[in-house]
């Protein structure tokens, strides 16, 4: 766990044999992607997808039908999957993704106090299928640290593979 200022980043390796996505795009995952039950996405998913599809190569794992609505003031972002092969094709992908998230949240909360962002990114090492979940909780400014953490995981995973 890495804690600095108003943010916290938690990193853990996960085992999800059911996740077979081989997409070169950013993939929005349902929260219960490890379960066999009907997929449930964060309620921010669809607007985020619509807003960012012109700026990012992004897709849903499956078409959302059920959404998890959290009535908290924090912004619970969609769960994003980034594969190592997508990063090697586009080294700027992580930076672009974090910047798109920051811009979206800034616009969404225009006229209101800036929220706490809760965002999870899953990194998939394409060769080994190893999955690492990086959870971010903090303010907009701290997203730079999330970007660094994803880069570190991506470099380590590719050297281990």
């Amino acid at each position: 766990m890495n804690q600095r200022g108003n943010m916290e980043i938690t990193i853990k390796e996960i085992d999800a044999p059911k996740l077979n996505s081989a997409s070169q795009n950013i993939v929005i995952l349902p929260n219960n992607y490890q379960s066999a039950e009907k997929h449930e996405y964060h309620s921010t998913t669809i607007s985020f997808y619509k807003d960012t599809k012109s700026k990012l190569d992004i897709e849903y794992l499956t078409e959302p039908e059920l959404l998890i609505e959290q009535r908290s003031g924090d912004w619970f972002g969609p769960l994003l999957l980034i594969s190592s092969s997508a990063i090697s094709q586009n080294p700027e992908l992580i930076s672009i993704t974090c910047s798109v998230v920051a811009n979206y949240v800034t616009e969404f909360f225009k006229g209101k106090d800036k929220p706490i962002i809760r965002l999870k990114v899953v990194h998939k090492e394409t060769k080994t299928s190893k999955l690492t979940e990086i959870s971010y909780e903090g303010d907009l400014e701290g997203l730079k640290n999330l970007e660094e953490s994803i880069h570190k995981i991506a470099s380590k995973s590719s050297s281990d593979a």
Binding site: L67, K110, G111
Partner: protein, 252 residues
């Protein structure tokens, strides 16, 4: 439902003239947004807001029909500001009638209208209203350290702008399109997942309204008076509150 008929002025009026009239109207309402002002006059001002909202929405509709997005959004800004003042007047009226829960709801409505208005125009007048509402909140109400924040699983629903499935249309939540705020509507709750107590809720209307003291007396959170109800504290402290409110803001 019967449609509301709004009498429009016969003569043509420029946007600048409407804007001037709007500023005068806002000032005239603001003068009555104080505790000491007559409740009777405050009620008259609320009725005037209702009438004027009808006129502004007609102008907005005309701008939307001409597909003039900028002007439609300017009228929407006016709509939100009038609603913010209307809600603040209602806050004072309810407060004087000792309906503290209702007064709190109108305060939050006023704050939310102000924040939507700020999405379109940010100027001293809106910021002053925002500051006045925040001051009223601090001085009139006790302050809540925790609020209710439910979590549930729901269907995608429809778009408030085009009424298509929200999955397939191009509109984005919280964006303003042709003078209307995009929201997901007609959502069906499939499963209630949890109820959490949080410091920073999405909806600050979801407050704790009653609690209990060490002796098990139920206490009204606004007045701290005993309600007369006796509760069993053996299994934990009792709290009662609003778990969920259906948003009713006039943003279309």
């Amino acid at each position: 439902m019967q449609a509301k008929v709004v009498q429009m002025p016969d003569k043509k009026i420029s946007f600048e003239e409407v804007q001037e009239e709007f500023c005068e109207f806002i000032d005239s309402c603001g003068k009555f947004s104080f505790y000491t002002r007559s409740t009777g006059i405050q009620r008259q001002k609320i009725a005037a807001c209702d009438k004027y909202l009808g006129v502004i929405k007609q102008y907005k509709q005309q701008a939307a029909e001409r597909e003039n997005e900028h002007v439609a959004n300017q009228f929407f800004h006016m709509q939100c500001m009038i609603n913010a003042l209307r809600s603040s007047l209602l806050m004072w009226v309810q407060l004087k009638e000792n309906d503290f829960e209702g007064s709190w709801t109108h305060l939050i409505d006023a704050q939310e209208y102000t924040s939507i208005a700020l999405r379109i125009n940010d100027y001293d007048g809106v910021r002053n209203l925002e500051a006045r509402l925040n001051s009223a909140e601090e001085s009139l109400f006790p302050g809540w350290k925790i609020y209710n924040s439910p979590g549930f699983v729901e269907t995608v629903g429809k778009c408030s702008i085009c009424h298509d499935s929200f999955l397939v249309c191009d509109h984005v939540e919280n964006e303003i399109h042709m003078g209307r705020l995009c929201q997901r509507i007609d959502r069906e709750i499939v499963r209630v997942d949890h109820f959490a107590l949080v410091e920073n809720p999405r909806d600050r209307r979801c407050i704790i309204t009653k609690t209990s003291d060490d002796d098990g007396n139920e206490i009204d959170y606004f007045t701290w008076e005993k309600t007369g109800k006796k509760l069993d504290n053996d299994e934990g402290r009792h709290i009662e509150g609003r778990m969920f409110c259906i948003p009713k803001l006039d943003v279309l």
